[in-house]
């Protein structure tokens, strides 16, 4: 399921457009300045990202989006990962798939930021279903909402549909816990919070959730690639015993193994994106997304962890950029499901081809 040359060109163009928010040369000053602040990202930059059309990459053109495929949205997520961009694009794009009409328009323009509230326990890969709708209100608890303090509203996944809850509505409490990457997770407690029902076609939540999971894998790919590049640069320049440490065979062989992990992750993520673009059925979709996320999570943790080792002592300082990549991986590796959870789902969903 490889892409045509025209399609590859389109993916390349979308990928290149990320330069709009990722400074050349990997400058991370903006990212460092935003760490551990509230809301942890910059609304101006978010507006630029909306002007580029990114929250609506996967929204159809008639609904005001770009109508692009998963291969394009993966490419953007990967580039954002390389640059450690903190603006919550993946979550906002997920929410956009569930909105329509004026709410969607405001989401795509950046006028209002709606984030998805789907998860009710740690480690979940399916939406929690305990949050209840009652007479124009919702009650329940949703967890692990990235950058939740910057949201104007939440699209809350219920057992039988969706509800839109404004962040400042009565009955809404948001607790934020800082995360290693400088952002935070919000826990949303809804106690008879005023809400409006929103309609989404059957299967829309599962599909959008799978795409967000794959985008997370793509972002991890970007994270590991950049951490690996930084490490290779260091191996080429750092000298000990009178030569560059990259000339030592033990470090060369370790680097070769990491290169294979990057290549496998890229192949897995891109193959999954191509499968989704080809419209595979829901079981295969879940299987290939799980495969990509399991690989990306394990590979990103391994590469960023070894990147610290390859850097030696300097790698353990906050001043060295490589640590930012490890701490991003620590958050993303388990977001949208652990590697173990995804391996299990893969085994359930993917029929074995008899040889």
């Amino acid at each position: 399921m490889s892409l045509t040359q025209d399609r590859l060109e389109q993916v390349r163009m979308v990928r290149d457009s990320v330069a709009a928010v990722a400074p050349a040369g990997g400058d991370l000053r903006r990212i460092r300045a935003l760490r551990f602040t509230t809301p942890g990202f910059d609304r101006e930059t978010w507006k630029i990202m909306c002007d580029m059309g990114w929250p609506g990459l996967r929204v159809s053109e008639e609904d005001g989006g770009a109508g692009f495929g998963v291969s394009e949205s993966s490419a953007v997520a990967e580039e954002l990962g390389k640059a450690l961009v903190p603006e919550p694009l993946l979550a906002a794009a997920f929410a956009a798939r569930l909105l329509s009409g004026a709410a969607l328009e405001r989401q795509l323009s950046g006028e209002q930021l709606v984030l998805p509230a789907w998860q009710e326990r740690a480690g979940a890969i399916e939406p929690g279903e305990a949050t209840q709708w009652h007479d124009g209100t919702v009650s329940g608890r949703k967890m692990f909402i990235p950058m939740a303090s910057g949201a104007d509203a939440f699209v809350v996944v219920l057992a039988d549909g969706l509800a839109l809850v404004q962040a400042d509505a009565p009955g809404v409490t948001l607790r934020c816990d800082a995360t290693q990457d400088g952002g935070h997770y919000g826990t949303l407690t809804l106690d008879g919070a005023k809400a409006e029902r929103i309609a989404a076609p059957p299967g829309a939540v599962a599909e959008a959730l799978d795409e967000a999971t794959l985008a997370t894998a793509a972002m991890l790919l970007g994270v590991m690639e950049r951490a690996f590049e930084l490490s290779l640069d260091y191996l080429r320049t750092r000298k000990q015993f009178g030569k560059p440490i990259g000339s030592f065979q033990s470090l060369q062989h370790r680097s070769a193994d990491l290169k294979i992990q990057v290549a496998l992750t890229r192949a897995s993520v891109e193959a999954a994106a191509a499968s989704l673009d080809a419209g595979v059925d829901a079981r295969v979709r879940q299987a290939v997304v799980s495969r990509a996320k399991a690989r990306a999570a394990d590979a990103a943790m391994r590469i960023t962890r070894e990147a610290i080792q390859l850097h030696g002592g300097i790698g353990y300082t906050d001043e060295a950029d490589v640590g930012l990549y490890l701490r991003k991986a620590m958050v993303l590796a388990n977001q949208h499901g652990t590697a173990a959870a995804h391996r299990l789902r893969y085994a359930e969903m993917m029929p074995e081809e008899e040889s």
């Binding site: 560059p244 062989h253 680097s255 496998l264 192949a267 040889s355």
Partner: protein
Amino acid sequence: MNDIDQLNQLDDDGFRAAVREWVQQNYPAELRNPAKRLHWRDNKAWYFRLAEHGWLAPGWPREYGGMGLSASKQLIMVDEYERHGVCRTNDHGIVMLGPLLIQYGTEEQKQRFLPNILTGAHVWCQGYSEPNSGSDLASLATSAVLEGQEWVLNGQKTWTTLANDANWIFVLARTDKTVKKQEGISFFLVPMDAPGITVRPIINLDMHDEFCEVFFDDVRIPAENLVGAVNQGWTMAKALLGFERVMIGSPKQSAYALSRLRVLAQRMGVWEDAVFQERYTRFRLDLADHTALYEVYLDLLRRGEMPGADASMLKLNQSELLQRITDAMMEVAAEDAGLLEPLDGNRELNPSGLFLQARPVTIYGGSSEIQRSILAKNVLDLPG
């Protein structure tokens, strides 16, 4: 228009169906998934069947008696053969020598050697590795000296696959000791019945004699048996590696081993075990991701591009995955892992055999250590 021209005109799906049907109807059932590499005496019936059908040389141009298939169709053919468990033949003439002669040989050499490969009259083996030149192949020491109109060869080759079946050998030999090691090597065609050649089979850990040592003791061959220019041998041999570099990383070996692991686990009663299932699923995922990476390189070949040094990732990753799977077989098989013969008289239930056969895969064709060094230096640009 004959059958082969028609095959060339089919779309990929139609071609795949045609290959599958023909293989199912013509491949000898008793040769499916052989437990060991087959000797000429066992695989020649299939070789001749292919020859008779005109399918022996998929990649050679039509004018030389090949099928003239596109890269894409050749890959489909390999895929269908592997799916059906088709054995390898004594194919060095077809896979290695033929393409080299077509590109670098004289018209006379092509006329003399290509038809004999296609009829099976000449069975070739490859004389590259030497006892002191394994990973560092370019350091090879077998010498060729021109005396009048004859080249005189002296030295020793080793790991020569199926030399005990061959009546011809193509040899890399040193023709200049004064230049950089890669620039003093030439390529020769040598009949195995030439006086001074001795072949000694090597019994491997799987108790099989697929590899041999070949000794050259004042072996004299006519000057016209040199291919290409003097000292061009290394360049020619390397130029044809692109396709091989990818093929050697095919996921099929691991896929086959994994299918055997499944059957073995069922036989041993651990298939439902959660710990086994977790391990098995990891293998499935590793195999699926490897296959996706392999596909990336197949796409490159289909577009007519030649893969670079980064393709060594495929061989390295596949061979180590194969070993992890066969390691698991050893554990799952329990005491039966130590048996000399396949289990239950079923050649496809052969854990100890597969485990042993997985040993050389990380050694031949550039050991895993060499592959890692190639990746580090030529792909990751790390300092020498």
